[in-house]
């Protein structure tokens, strides 16, 4: 029973849990319930990944209708891998948010927050698992709406503007995707991604399809905050409540990156997108500019959350760079970085949230002397920060290693050099914060005795992520296996049969 529906459960569980959480009403009930559900979903995601690695593709026909007539959920190594990261992060952030949210959001809205979180999680799972282009749009909107809610929940008034900007940009992005899907549908008559891939006929209606491709790419790029379209991200991440930022930064954009991978590799085909359209060059250029421009911007910000937000944009550049290298290794590097970056940024934002919890500010000056007052938090921040820089024995190094390897494989020496050059900027922006934390004294005006370590419920998930940072930085077998089989699968999946009963009709 469970086995049969495994592919649907990670979406359905949070989807159903959201209204129940709303009905539960009491904030502690809904918190416990949401966490439990998220943990279950995480467990299922784990099993799914196992299953996908063992059996290849799992197809689930919702409503019992075979694709392309019905909606199909399609699990392979790639999305199961990302789903695992998302669900794990969701669970950890929920654990973390109990205390953090109490501080940052007024009590009457806690239940709404947990509901929104579950909705967002459900939306992200849906985006990952669905095999239907339009269904993807629907889930995209579920997660986006929940995201706007969560961003605007912060008490800072600037969060409202951030959320509004996010809403406008996000909706434009979604509408672009809608246009793209419409154009594709028009020239193929189908919405199922695999079926689309089989039926796309460049010779017949190339211009329509190419336009569709362009619109989907731009739309997804807005959602994943690719460089010139990233304007919404820094303010949204900065002013959102800490737990929200931790969740979004580590999942939402990653899922969008996955969507881009999915469209490029599964729907349009590498040969077309990169071969004849030359999209790889555009993506590569944008990714590199993103890495440098945004890393630089990160070095001159004074608000630590903004620093990390810009860093996120830069890191997304790395993922896109991996994709744009057009090789299995590059794609694998991108996928690994999706997973790894979730670990790093999750931990970093949680640590920043912990600082906010105690100090009430996340300006860089607020970090002064915290190395002594909040040793565990700052140690977590340090390790995760080193991971962002790409220091060996952390996950950051693993991603960077594969990325450079991929670049060198393609004889893109300059790209490889630029990737490494980009990490130098990370040294600067992480270094500034660490220096404040460890080598500057707290200003006397602030009462230093009150600042102590945060509650264990915040520390535990933070350190879980930090340890994961190290664990997956040393034992790379799981990530590498999953990512490489996913990458290989994506590269040669064009001949896959459609659904379980593809031959039925």
């Amino acid at each position: 029973m469970l086995e049969q529906h495994l592919a649907a459960l990670p979406i359905l569980l949070p989807l159903i849990a959201a209204p129940i959480a709303l009905i539960l009403g009491r904030s502690s009930f809904s918190w416990a319930f949401a966490t439990l559900i998220s943990a279950c979903a995480c467990l299922f995601a784990w099993q799914l990944l196992d299953l996908a690695l063992a059996n290849g593709v799992i197809s689930y026909e919702v409503g019992g209708w075979p694709p392309p007539w019905g909606i199909e959920l399609r699990v392979d190594a790639a999305n199961a891998f990302v789903l695992l990261a998302v669900s794990a992060l969701s669970t950890l952030v929920l654990l973390y948010s109990k205390d953090s949210i109490e501080k940052e959001i007024e009590a009457s809205k806690h239940t709404l927050y947990y509901t929104a979180h579950l909705l967002c999680f459900a939306g992200l799972s849906g985006i990952l698992l669905t095999g239907d282009a339009f269904n993807l749009f629907v889930f995209l909107e579920i997660s986006s709406l929940a995201t706007y809610t969560m961003v605007s929940l912060a008490s800072d008034r600037r969060s409202l503007i951030a959320a509004f900007r996010y809403l406008v940009m996000g909706t434009i992005g979604a509408t672009f995707i809608l246009i793209g899907v419409g154009l594709l549908y028009m020239s193929t008559g189908t919405l199922n991604m695999l079926d689309l891939a089989n039926r796309i006929d460049i010779a017949e209606s190339g211009r329509t399809i190419n336009t569709g491709l362009a619109f989907i790419m731009v739309g997804v790029s807005i959602k994943l905050a690719l460089f010139p379209l990233h304007m919404w991200l820094p303010s949204a991440y900065t002013y959102a409540p800490s737990a929200v930022t931790a969740f979004l930064a580590s999942t939402a954009t990653k899922v969008a990156v996955y969507v881009m991978i999915r469209f490029i590799f599964t729907v349009f085909g590498v040969d077309h997108v990169f071969g004849s359209m030359g999209m790889d060059l555009i993506l590569m250029a944008l990714a590199i500019v993103a890495i440098f421009k945004c890393s630089y911007k990160a070095t001159v910000q004074s608000d630590v959350k903004t620093v990390l937000a810009y860093s996120s944009v830069a890191q997304i550049g790395y993922m896109i760079l991996g994709i744009s290298l057009v090789s299995a290794t590059g794609l694998m590097a991108g996928l690994i970085h999706i997973f790894n970056h979730a670990l790093m940024k999750g931990a970093l934002f949680m640590a920043v949230g912990a600082v906010f919890y105690r100090v009430g500010s996340v300006d860089i000056t607020a970090f002064r002397g915290l190395g002594k007052q909040m040793p565990l938090t700052m140690a977590a921040f340090t390790i995760a920060g080193l991971s962002i820089i790409g220091v060996p024995l952390t996950v950051g190094f693993v991603s960077k290693w594969y990325l450079v390897t991929a670049a060198l494989e393609q004889n893109q020496w300059i790209v490889a050099a630029l990737v490494l050059g980009g990490s130098l900027l990370a040294v600067i922006y992480i270094g500034r914060i660490l220096e404040a934390a460890y080598f500057q004294e707290r200003p006397d005006s602030q009462n230093t005795t009150e600042i102590k370590e945060v509650p264990w419920l915040m520390l535990a998930p933070m350190w879980a992520l930090v340890l994961a940072n190290i664990y997956f930085g040393v034992d790379t077998s799981l990530t590498t296996e999953a990512a490489s089989s996913a990458a290989e699968w994506l590269f040669q999946n064009n001949e896959m049969p459609l659904g379980n009963q593809a031959e039925a009709k």
């Binding site: 080193l386 820089i389 790409g390 220091v391 060996p392 024995l393 190094f397 693993v398 960077k400 290693w401 594969y402 450079v404 390897t405 060198l408 494989e409 020496w413 490889a416 050099a417 490494l420 050059g421 990490s423 130098l424 040294v427 600067i428 270094g431 220096e435 460890y438 080598f439 040393v474 034992d475 790379t476 077998s477 590498t480």
Partner: protein, 502 residues
């Protein structure tokens, strides 16, 4: 030595790495009681030395030790492999750790430093990573622990916590991390993508099938990527790191950090490029001359520095380039000289730093101009200083003689007369900036009149410090008369020999 007989040889490696690590943890655990903490440090240091000796024993009998830990990437793991050069470095480092620990105990107490626990802990961590570097079996392992070393010494550099320390620390970390990430990592990965392996192999892993131009570029990247070797213009971190407490400077500049740098360079030249391949590369000469220029320029800068530690720092920069030059000469003798120089310079320079620290603790003097007549107050210290200085200059009967000798022979053999000349000039410069210090201390007096010396006026540094600097200065002497074990060890390095080609 039979202490470790019962243990599987491969476990000796992990033991040598884990010991200081465990020591560091113990230091944290015993942080509340200084005595216990220092006892732990000392005992760990001594035990470690015995382990390294055991390894040496095993190696000198022709044994081979290897250890593969975890597979980081498919086909690439963190692995260790003992070879003579590494043993040499490990011996030096582990021995000097004992000495430095003794010294540091005296220094820290004498100076009433804060955060001593952090200090000893990071110290032990640094040694741990140095051990890992010594025995690393491939470039990846080397790179990883190279980075760990940088990070674990950063808190040491900024130990004082004031603005100057922070600034120094920033430069230190900035240059070392950025060069290693931007150049070294890139070079490592390029090597991997070219050859498909990163293992250290006798004779190198590159061969004629690889594009010479690419290799030339790689050579430059390696040389600059290993920023710890302080080749100009990436030498700035070294003087900047002088803000650290003296035991740290001693460790950083004589043993752990800088030697890890030149050791890495030697290792890359010998085991990755291979000396034969190295000869054919266009950039070898360029780098060689940059090394030569570094030697001369930094010697000149050293002369202008009045601050004793700064002078010593620039001296270190120039001495490091000896080793780089030795490696880049691509001759077996020069390489042997370079390898030997690791050891001889280590003992010499650490003596000098010990002395500088002792002077600071005892008389609070930092500048050379203030040290006039100091020899009367601190005769033992200044005598040791003189010994160290002579060793650095390369005059008999001090250890430095041997390494300089082989370096010069190697340069001659390679027909690089400019290098020979540079070595000579540099020695003269060494004399010019080092010898005046003991001379002033002993023979000049502030009043101009030589007053008779008496014990009542001596205000030597605390006893542990004195012991430490005496031991190292003695080593300088001993290694001159009894260098054979080291030379034997060096001769065991494939392709390197003190006997010249053939």
């Amino acid at each position: 030595m039979n202490l470790w007989q019962g243990i599987e040889p491969s476990q000796l490696i992990s033991l040598s790495i884990l010991l200081p690590f465990v020591g560091a943890l113990l230091v944290i655990a015993t942080g509340k009681s200084p005595n216990l903490r220092e006892a732990v440090t000392l005992i760990t240091a001594i035990v470690l030395f015995t382990v390294v000796l055991a390894i040496y024993d095993y190696i000198s009998q022709g044994g081979e030790i290897g250890l593969e830990l975890i597979e980081l990437f498919p086909g690439l793991s963190i692995s260790f492999e003992v070879e003579p050069l590494g043993v040499l470095f490990a011996l030096v480092a582990s021995f000097l750790w004992i000495v430095t620990s003794v010294y540091a105990i005296g220094y820290m107490r004498g100076h009433n430093e804060l955060n001593q626990t952090r200090f000893f802990c990071c110290f032990a961590l640094a040694i741990s990573s140095v051990m890992a570097i010594c025995f690393s079996g491939n470039l990846l392992t080397l790179f990883i622990f190279y980075e760990v070393l940088t990070l674990s010494t950063y808190p040491l550099v900024t130990h004082a916590g004031n603005d100057a320390a922070k600034k120094g620390g920033r430069i230190y970390l900035g240059i070392l991390l950025s060069t290693s990430i931007a150049f070294l990592l890139f070079a490592v990965m390029a090597t991997y993508s070219l050859t498909g392996t990163l293992d250290f192999r006798a004779g190198g892993i590159f061969d004629d099938s690889h594009n010479k131009i690419v290799l030339s570029v790689l050579l430059v990247l390696f040389c600059y990527g290993i920023g710890k070797a302080a080749i100009m213009p990436f030498h700035r971190w070294l003087p900047a790191a002088m803000v650290a407490p003296t035991p740290v400077s001693a460790l950083l500049h004589a043993v752990a950090v800088v030697k890890a740098g030149v050791f890495s360079i030697l290792k890359v030249m010998i085991y990755i490029f291979g000396l034969d391949e190295l000869k054919d590369l266009a950039t070898t000469d360029i780098m060689l001359y940059i090394g030569v220029a570094t030697i001369l320029l930094s010697s000149c800068i050293a002369m202008t520095k009045d601050n004793l530690k700064a002078r010593l720092a620039y001296s270190t920069v120039s001495q490091l380039s000896y080793i780089v030059v030795g490696a880049l000469l691509a001759s077996s003798i020069a390489s042997a000289g370079a390898a030997l120089h690791i050891a001889t310079h280590a003992v010499g320079k650490i003596t000098l730093f010990f002395c500088a620290g002792a002077i600071m603790v005892a008389s609070h003097k930092k500048n050379i101009s203030e040290m006039v007549g100091l020899g009367r107050q601190m005769p033992i210290t200044m005598a040791a200083f003189a010994i160290g200085a002579i060793s650095i200059i390369g005059l008999p009967p001090m250890a430095g003689t041997w390494s300089k000798w082989y370096l010069t022979i190697g340069a001659l053999e390679a027909d690089k007369l400019i290098v020979v000349a540079a070595l000579m000039i540099s020695s003269l410069l060494n004399i010019a900036y080092l010898l005046p210090i003991p001379v002033k201390a002993f023979f000049n007096t502030t009043t101009g009149e030589a007053e008779p010396w008496s014990w009542s006026e001596t205000r030597e540094a605390p006893l542990p410090m004195l012991i430490a600097l005496s031991v190292t200065s003695l080593c300088c002497l001993v290694l001159f008369f009894y260098p054979q074990p080291l030379i034997d060890l060096v001769n065991m390095i494939p392709g390197v020999s003190t006997q010249g080609e053939g």
